[in-house]
Assembly symmetry: C2
Homo-oligomer: 595 residues x 2
C-alpha cells in the first residue's frame, strides 16, 4: 500500500487488491456544495487524480479508480465501500412522463424532467466541467443517462451521453470458477484503476450471485449485467425452458443487489430471426442467440418484448437503466448494416419510447463488426430511430482479419463511432474471439479504449479534451521526461519502455532519447534554433510571419469545412445552447402540463 | 529452415535470418507472360502466399516476404538475392514531359506516359488484380509510383497509389552499432515477413554505407532512405557545415547502391522556419530541423530547394522516387494543420511539378499528429496542391497522451487518412517517443499497420479486400479454428492466445471457445437454430423475409449516402474508368505532342 505500482507488478497477494497511487500522482477530492430541494445543502467530494508535475504544478485528470488509488486506503472487501449516496437527498417521486402522469417514479430522468438537479447531477457536472443545469437538461432530454441504482450507494456518479466525455466499459467475470473474493474484486479494481467508467459482470456458472455481490459492494464505478445469463443457468442452459417468470425474478434479484444497468435483448423478435440465415456469421450475441432459440421453439414472440412494460416498471422503481441489447448485431464485415441489424434497431426505438414514457432511463447497444465507411451512418440511424438515446457500442471492429489484435481493429472503429456521437464504448481485449483475457489483457483493453474515447473527444472538440495533449506535448518538447510519463494514460509502460534503453536517472532530464540520440534530436535542434537565432525568428514579440495567401485561406477554409463536415456526420458541438434550449423548452412544456 | 516459426520463436542463430513458411501456408509463384516492346516475351514469377485451408482449398494472399518464407530457401547473405530485374527489358529512354521533351529518361513515369507497359507494371498488375493498362495509366497520371531503382534488381516490384491496396513502410536501422550482417538483414526480413511493403533504412553512425549494402542486396521490398542523415555524419553532426556538394555526393552514392526512394526535405524554406516558433513542439522532423538550422545560419535558402532541378536529374537517371519530406509536420495535436505545415506542403506541390516535368517519380510525405476531425482535409490539400501525387503519411497520431501505445494512437489516424486516399502508411511502433523498437515491437508495428491499411482498403471498397474477411469469418462461424488462425494477419499470436486456455488439439475443432464456453456460444446456438428449425426459417430456398419498409429504405439509403459521403471526402472508387480515361487522354495528348 502506498507504493507506486508498475504495470508489470505482480498481482496482489491473496485477499488483497491493487492499491496505491498511480505514478507521480495523488488522489484528491474537491468539495462541492449541493443545494437540496428543501434548500438545505450537502457537501459532495468529487474525486480526481492530481498529477504532480516537476514544474511544481498539479494537473488534475478525471479519475475512476475509487479509493484504491489513495495512499493508504481503508479497505474491507467483505463489507465493501462506504455507502456515500445513501446520505444524499432522494427527491420525491416525479411523474414519469406526459403520456403516463399517473406513474410517479424516482429516476434521474423523471427528476430532470421535473426541473430537479439531483446530487448526482451536481457531482457529475463538477467532475466533467459543465454546469449542473446542463447536466439536468441532457438527462431530461434522454440524450444522457446516469446509471445509478438506488441500491448501489457505493458508486461515484457518472454520466453517459453524446455531449459528455466518451465513456468506456470493461467486461469482467467470464470465468465460471472463482477462487476468492479478492480475485474477482481485483479484476474490477484493476480495470477501474486504468480508467474503466463502468464494468459489466458477465459471469456464468454457479457462483454468479455471490461474485456479483462482491463486485457491487466494492466497485466505485457503475456495474452492468446481462440477466439472461443467470436466468439460463436456472434452467440448466436450455434456452427453450426459459420463462418470463424466471427471467423477471432474476431481474428483480439483480436490481435488489444494486446492478446499475442491464442489457436486455428485447428487440430480437420472432420475425427477425429468419433475416439472419443468409449471414456469414449468423447471430453472434449470446443473449440474441438464446432469445432467437426461444422464439423459434414454439413459434412465439419474445417474452422480453411482450412483457416490456412490466420490465420498465421494475427497472424504473430502482432507477436501473435499460441497455437495450443488439442481439442481432453483425459479427462480420459481410453482415454489417443488414436488414436483421436495422430491423432490431428500429424495434429498440419503439421500446425506447415505451421505457421513457414510464420514466426509465435507456441507452442502446450497437455493433459489432462494421467497415469504416459504414460506421458513421449507424449513429444517425440510432439517433433518428431511438430519439437520441445514448449509443453504447462494442467496438466496432473495422476488419475481421486480425484475431489477437482485435483491441486494435476495434479501436479504429470505436474512435470513429465515438467521434460520430456514440456515448460509451465497450472495450475489446487482445483475446477477443480466442480466449479469456488475463490481467495484462484487461489493462491493454482499457488503455486502448481510453485512447479511442479520447481521440473521439478531440474529434468532437470536447472543450477540455486537448488540455492533456497540450500538457504532455509541452513536457515532451521541454524534455521533462517524468512529466511525460506521468501525463500518459499508462505511465508505468511509458517509463518501462524508456528505461529499456536509457535506464539511468540522468536520462530523465536529458535533452534527447534513445530513438534518435543527441545529434539527431529534432526537438533539441528546434530548441537550439530558438536559443541561437532569436532575432531572425522575430522573437520575442512574435515571429515575422510570411504566409502564402493560399495557405492562409486554406487554414481558414479548413477550419470552416471541418466544422461543416462534422455537422454533416450528425456531429454536434458541445454546449450548443440554442439547440438545447429549444429542446428543453419543449420538455418543460410537457412537465408543465403534468404538474 | 522449413519449421513453422511462432511469433515468440527465438531470434535466429548468429549468421542466420528467420526463414520457413508462415503457419499452414506455402510460398507459390504464379507465372505471367509479359510482352516486351519488341514483341518478345518474358515470363515473370509473381509471388504469393497460399494458405492451405482444412477444406482442401488454397486461399492466396499478397505476400511481401520474398524467398525467406520458402520451405528451404537458398540463401547467401553476402551476395544477396537473385538480380531478377536485370533479366527484364528496360525500354529505351522516353521524353520526360511536354515541358522538357529534350530530356530523355528511363523512368516508369516516362515509359508510362509514352504508352509503354513495363515488366514491372505487368508484375504489379497481376500481383494486385488489376489490368496492366490500368497500372500504366495510374503511373502516367502521377497518381501512383513504382519505387524501383535500376540498380536494385533484387526487389519484387510494388506500386504506391491511391487506387491500389494501401501500403505500409517499416523503419529500420536506428542503432548506431551493429554486430553482424545477419542482425541487420534479419530486421528487414522480419518486417517483410509480416507484411512491410517497403522498409526505410534510417541508420546513423559509422557503418551507414555497409549496413545499407547488406539490406539492399537482401531485401525483397523497395528500400527508402533519408540521405541527409549520412550527409550530416560526413560533417560530424554540425548542420551548419553541410554543403550542396556533400549532400549531392551522398545522394549519388545511395543511388548507385540501389536505394529506391529518398526522403528529401526540400520544402523547408528559410521563410517558413519562423512559423514554427509559436508551436508547442516546434520542428519534430530530424531532416526538417537540420535544414532549418542550416537555413537560419547565414540566413540562406535551402540548398535542397535551390538545387532541386539538379536533384531531379540525378534521381531520374536511376529512377529513384522522390519522397518529398514534411520537415515541418506537426508533432502534437496543438500544432496540427498550421501555417508552417501547409506552407511547406504548398512548396512540395511546386517541387512535384518540377520533378515530374523532368521525368522523376514523386510521392509526398505527410503528418504526424492530427486529431481525427482534421485528418481527411489533409488528403484534399495534398491532392489539390501536389497534383494527386501519392501521399505517404506517418500515422498520424490521433492523440498525444498515450506514449507506449502510439502504434494504436497512430493506427486510428492511419486508417482514417488511408480511407481518405493516402497511398502508403509509415508504421509507428509501441516504442515511438520512448526508445528503440526490438524484434517484438517491429512485428507489432507491422501487424498494426497491416490492420490500418486493410481497414482503409475495406473503407475504400477495394474490390478484393473483403475476400479475406469473408474467408476468415466463414471459418470462424464453421469452427475451423486452424483456418481462422491461418487466415489471420498474425497466425502465431492467434494460435498462442487460443491455446493459453484450450491447448488440446480437439479444441481446434470444438464448436465453442474458452470465451463463452459451449453453453453460451452464440455461433453454436445460431448453427443449431439453422439445423433445428429449417422450415421456420424458410430454408432451403431462402428465408421468409419480413422487413419493415423503413428499414428497407434505410438500408438502400445507407448504401447511397455512404457512397456520397465517401466522395465528399475526396474518396474515389477503384477503377473509376470514365474519370481515369479523361485524365489519360489529357496525358496522352501531352505525349502526342512530345513524340
Amino acid at each position: 500500500m502506498g507504493t507506486r505500482l508498475t504495470a508489470k507488478s505482480a498481482p496482489p497477494e491473496e485477499g488483497q487488491v491493487t492499491t496505491g497511487p498511480i505514478y507521480r500522482s495523488r488522489k484528491v477530492y474537491n468539495t462541492v456544495t449541493h443545494t437540496n430541494t428543501d434548500g438545505s445543502t450537502t457537501d459532495l467530494r468529487i474525486p480526481a487524480r492530481a498529477i504532480e508535475l516537476t514544474t511544481g504544478e498539479d494537473f488534475e485528470v478525471y479519475d475512476t479508480s475509487g479509493i484504491y488509488t489513495e495512499d493508504n486506503p481503508q479497505l474491507d472487501l467483505k463489507t465493501g465501500l462506504a455507502k456515500t449516496r445513501d446520505e444524499w437527498e432522494k427527491p420525491e417521486a416525479a411523474p414519469a412522463s406526459d403520456e403516463h402522469p399517473e406513474l410517479k417514479v424516482k429516476t434521474q430522468l423523471a427528476w430532470a424532467r421535473a426541473g430537479i438537479v439531483t446530487p448526482e447531477m451536481t457531482f457529475i457536472a463538477h467532475r466533467e466541467g459543465f454546469e449542473p443545469e446542463f447536466v439536468r437538461r441532457e438527462v431530461a432530454s434522454g440524450r444522457a443517462v446516469i446509471t445509478a441504482n438506488h441500491k448501489h450507494p457505493e458508486i461515484e456518479p457518472m454520466i453517459i451521453g453524446r455531449n459528455f466525455a466518451v465513456k468506456i466499459n470493461a467486461n469482467m467475470g467470464n470465468s465460471a470458477v472463482t477462487s476468492s473474493i479478492a480475485e474477482e474484486v481485483e479484476k474490477m479494481v484493476w480495470a477501474a484503476r486504468w480508467g474503466a467508467d463502468t464494468i459489466m459482470d458477465l459471469s456464468t456458472g454457479n457462483d454468479i450471485h455471490e461474485t456479483r455481490e462482491w463486485i457491487l459492494r466494492n466497485s466505485p464505478v457503475p456495474v452492468g449485467t446481462v440477466p439472461i445469463y443467470q436466468a439460463l443457468e436456472k434452467v440448466n442452459g436450455d434456452p427453450t425452458k426459459l420463462t418470463w417468470e424466471i427471467y423477471r425474478d432474476t431481474v428483480i434479484e439483480q436490481c435488489e443487489q444494486g446492478v446499475d444497468y442491464m442489457t436486455i435483448h428485447a428487440g430480437v423478435l420472432l420475425r427477425y430471426v429468419p433475416l439472419t440465415t443468409e449471414r456469414v456469421t449468423g447471430i453472434v450475441s449470446r443473449g440474441g442467440s438464446i432469445m432467437a432459440a426461444w422464439c423459434l421453439d414454439g413459434h412465439r414472440e419474445s417474452f422480453l418484448y411482450t412483457h416490456f412494460e412490466e420490465l420498465c416498471d421494475i427497472l424504473a422503481s430502482y432507477d436501473v437503466t435499460f441497455s437495450l441489447g443488439d442481439g442481432l448485431r453483425p459479427g462480420s464485415i459481410a453482415d454489417a448494416n443488414d436488414e436483421a441489424q436495422l430491423s432490431e434497431l428500429k424495434t429498440l426505438g419503439e421500446l425506447t419510447r415505451i421505457a421513457k414514457s414510464r420514466g426509465a432511463q435507456v441507452m442502446i447497444e450497437g455493433p459489432g463488426h462494421i467497415p469504416m465507411h459504414k460506421i458513421p451512418i449507424n449513429v444517425e440511424w440510432e439517433e433518428n430511430w431511438c430519439d437520441g438515446a445514448p449509443f453504447y457500442t462494442l467496438g466496432p471492429l473495422a476488419t475481421d482479419i486480425a484475431p489477437g489484435y482485435d483491441h486494435i481493429t476495434s479501436a479504429i472503429g470505436a474512435a470513429i463511432i465515438g467521434q460520430a456521437g456514440t456515448a460509451m464504448l465497450c472495450y475489446v481485449t487482445p483475446k477477443e474471439h480466442l480466449g479469456l483475457p488475463n490481467r495484462d489483457d484487461v489493462k491493454v483493453g482499457v488503455i486502448t479504449y481510453k485512447i479511442a474515447a479520447h481521440a473521439a473527444d478531440l474529434g468532437k472538440s470536447h472543450p477540455r479534451a486537448q488540455e492533456r495533449d497540450d500538457a504532455l506535448s509541452k513536457a515532451r518538447f521541454e524534455f521533462r521526461w517524468h512529466d511525460q510519463f506521468a501525463l500518459a494514460l499508462d505511465p508505468d509502460t511509458a517509463l518501462e519502455y524508456h528505461d529499456e534503453t536509457l535506464p539511468a536517472e540522468p536520462a530523465k532530464t536529458a535533452h534527447f532519447c534513445s530513438m534518435c540520440g543527441p545529434k539527431f534530436c529534432s526537438m533539441r535542434i528546434s530548441q537550439d534554433i530558438r536559443d541561437t537565432y532569436p532575432a531572425q525568428l522575430g522573437m520575442p514579440g512574435g515571429p515575422n510571419r510570411v504566409v502564402d495567401a493560399d495557405v492562409q485561406a486554406a487554414v481558414e477554409e479548413g477550419m470552416k469545412e471541418m466544422s461543416e463536415k462534422f455537422r454533416e456526420h450528425g456531429g454536434q458541438l458541445y454546449l450548443d445552447e440554442a439547440e438545447v434550449e429549444e429542446e428543453i423548452q419543449q420538455a418543460e412544456g410537457e412537465n408543465a402540463s403534468i404538474n
